[in-house]
């Protein structure tokens, strides 16, 4: 049973096994409010699987996940989203047939049920939110642009913007700067630090320079288990982590 904590997210003794292979093995992890946590680890460490488990895409074999002291394990994906958890995928997942503004509109948390959707009308508040989110993610100039012709980096930003529209309390980003130019990385780092001021973030990243710039705390996963956790400095000086990353 999950323990009662003050943490925003408490993952406890989580295990998932695919035909006997334990992708996540007895993992416990706690995320504070307004914390920016970065998860690193070699390929196959179970980073993406962990996010999949939290957002309900994959079902856990055992363990517990509680969000604001409420068990979310086994909840349907859309209910987890409505509870306040947003997820960005590794490859930018935006609606290419719609404009930037329409992408953001669909992510606005109103008219989500069938009848709400039929009766849905654009409100001034919604338009304001779309404008403010679009400027946060540097896409204000491109509101009417089709999402299909955005650059790779802009698509990543748009997806972050779509998550911000939902006003989640926890945002999970899977490799948000993959494929970005150095200047785009710079802007994304600023963006993420800005976002983390009033919500929690879990970020999976490989780029150590980027991690150094944004992380409050770093968690290292290896073979589905927690290898180390702490500040970036302590992680970099951890012999076990060095061993895993640099080999024998």
């Amino acid at each position: 049973m999950a323990s009662n904590t003050n943490y925003l997210l408490a993952v406890e003794e989580l295990t998932v096994s695919f035909d006997g292979f334990k992708a996540i093995d007895n993992l416990s992890l706690y995320v504070d409010r307004n914390e920016l946590r970065v998860i690193i680890g070699p390929n196959g460490a179970g980073k993406t699987t962990l996010l999949d488990l939290i957002c309900g895409k994959t079902r856990a074999t055992s363990g517990s996940i509680s969000f604001k002291n409420r068990n979310i394990l086994g909840m349907q994906e859309h209910r987890i989203v409505r509870a306040g958890i947003g997820r960005k995928f590794q490859t930018p997942s935006v609606y290419e047939n719609l404009s930037v503004a329409e992408n953001l509109e669909i992510s606005y948390p109103s008219g989500r049920g069938i009848f709400g959707c039929i009766a849905f009308r654009q409100t001034p508040e919604m338009r304001e939110r779309i404008h403010s989110v679009a400027s946060t993610v540097h896409l204000f100039e491109h509101l009417q642009t089709s999402a299909a012709i955005l650059s790779h980096g802009q698509k990543q930003w748009l997806e972050i913007g779509m998550l911000l529209m939902q006003e989640p309390e926890l945002l999970m980003l899977d490799e948000p700067v993959a494929g970005m130019s150095p200047s785009e990385r710079e802007r994304t780092a600023t963006l993420l630090r800005e976002i983390a001021k009033n919500r929690s973030l879990i970020v999976i990243e490989h780029d150590m320079e980027f991690v150094k710039r944004i992380a409050h705390k770093v968690t290292v996963l290896h073979l589905g288990k927690l290898l180390a956790e702490g500040s970036m400095e302590s992680i970099q000086n951890n012999p076990e982590v060095q061993h895993v990353y640099l080999g024998h």
Binding site: N97, T145, S151, M162, Q166, E184
Partner: protein, 378 residues
């Protein structure tokens, strides 16, 4: 966007509807005799299914090969009412049990089955025409979409259901009229539906209701629902992780398309005067998908032309080469899906775009991407 523009689909949509109305409500009635016009009315009743398929297959990305089920259920509901009216004790007095439909008497039934009793009421029947198909669609859709059954599996399961239903009707002769179906329908509340004037009225009623279905669909697609369905076809997972229950939307559209098909079935029965299990089964269901594919699975108006063209072709061709028709139909379907995935409407769009491109100065290439990079480096 105001209500009226949404309803008609803008300037171009209004023009499409106007052209369709001129053809259906003026040109055809003035040039065809009542026998041929009645045939057109029959084809138009299939068009309701095709319009439903544009919503379901084209816009939601769910292919159902069992839409004949819903067409048939709507048709059977209407036929049951008409049959009961035609089986009053006076006109059935030579039967061993007067007052029940003739096929029941032939099957040694001595009382009206409970299932038939509510169909003595016209209001109940009119509701049932929509609700029976919609409720079945709700049950089937909920069972499948919430379990994330989709694509080919959904198509095969709906096809199996069409087979089950047509066999079920076929096998219960006393209850349903069996293979012969329900025939010899005469009057609707005393109004003889076999007369020429009735056939004209029913034809125009069909045209009006069909256009109403198209406008209702346009209204739905012009709002948030249209964008959401587009987003679902593009990135279903993303929609789910934006807090939407994707399955509910699929169930809703499936029910809507079923209700439209049911209405089509009822109008078919009123105009043609009978219904049989062959209109419910696999072949009928697949034919309806072909109407939609030929017209264009994304074009509500195209689906209507698809139903008209394929059916006209069918009656012309099958008069001369009855055995070859099914092969031609199969070839047509494969050809359309492979070479013109958006059907006739897609072809037309292609032409008009080429024409517009030739007429216009070439567009300046969109240049937002380099702009932001310069800004970022500065």
């Amino acid at each position: 966007m105001d209500f009226l523009t949404k309803l008609t689909g803008g300037k171009r949509g209004a023009l499409e509807i106007a052209v369709l109305l001129v053809i259906l409500a003026a040109v055809l009635p003035l040039t065809l005799d009542i026998f041929r016009l009645n045939l057109v009315g029959k084809y138009l009743s299939y068009a309701f299914v095709a319009v439903g398929l544009v919503l379901l297959w084209g816009n939601t990305g769910v292919l159902s090969l069992g839409q004949g089920i819903f067409f048939g259920l709507g048709g059977y509901c209407m036929a049951m009412f008409l049959k009961l009216e035609a089986s009053d004790p006076v006109s059935t007095k030579i039967q061993s049990t007067p007052g029940i439909p003739d096929f029941m008497d032939w099957n040694q039934l001595t009382a009206l089955p409970a299932m038939w009793v509510p169909f003595k009421s016209l209001p109940f029947t009119l509701l049932a025409v929509f609700l029976v198909p919609a409720i079945l669609a709700f049950i089937v859709g909920s069972a499948m979409f919430h379990r994330r059954v989709g694509g080919v599996y959904f198509a095969v399961i709906t096809q199996a259901l069409a087979l089950i239903l047509s066999l079920g009707i076929d096998g219960n002769q006393g209850l349903t009229g069996g293979r012969n179906g329900i025939t010899d329908l005469r009057t609707l509340l005393g109004w003889d539906i076999r007369t020429q004037s009735a056939q004209y009225i029913l034809y125009f009623a069909t045209v009006v209701l069909l256009v109403a279905c198209v406008m209702l669909s346009r209204l739905l697609l012009a709002g948030k629902m249209g964008k959401l369905l587009l987003a679902m076809r593009d990135k279903e997972t993303r929609v789910r992780f934006s807090g939407y229950n994707v399955a509910n939307y699929k169930v809703f559209i499936f029910c809507l398309s079923a209700a439209m098909s049911g209405l089509g079935g009822a109008l078919f029965v009123l105009q043609v005067g009978f219904i049989s299990p062959s209109l419910v089964g696999i072949v009928a269901s697949i034919e309806m998908v072909i109407f939609c594919a030929v017209g264009g699975k994304l074009s509500l108006i195209g689906a209507i032309y698809g139903a008209l063209i394929v059916n006209t072709g069918k009656s012309l061709f099958s008069e001369t080469f009855p055995d070859l028709w099914l092969f031609l139909m199969g070839a047509l379907f494969i050809g359309i899906v492979m070479f013109f995935p958006n059907g006739l409407a897609g072809l037309l769009d292609g032409f008009s775009q080429k024409f517009k491109k030739a007429a216009r100065v070439p567009l300046a290439p969109p240049a937002p991407v380099p702009a932001i990079k310069e800004e970022a480096q500065a």
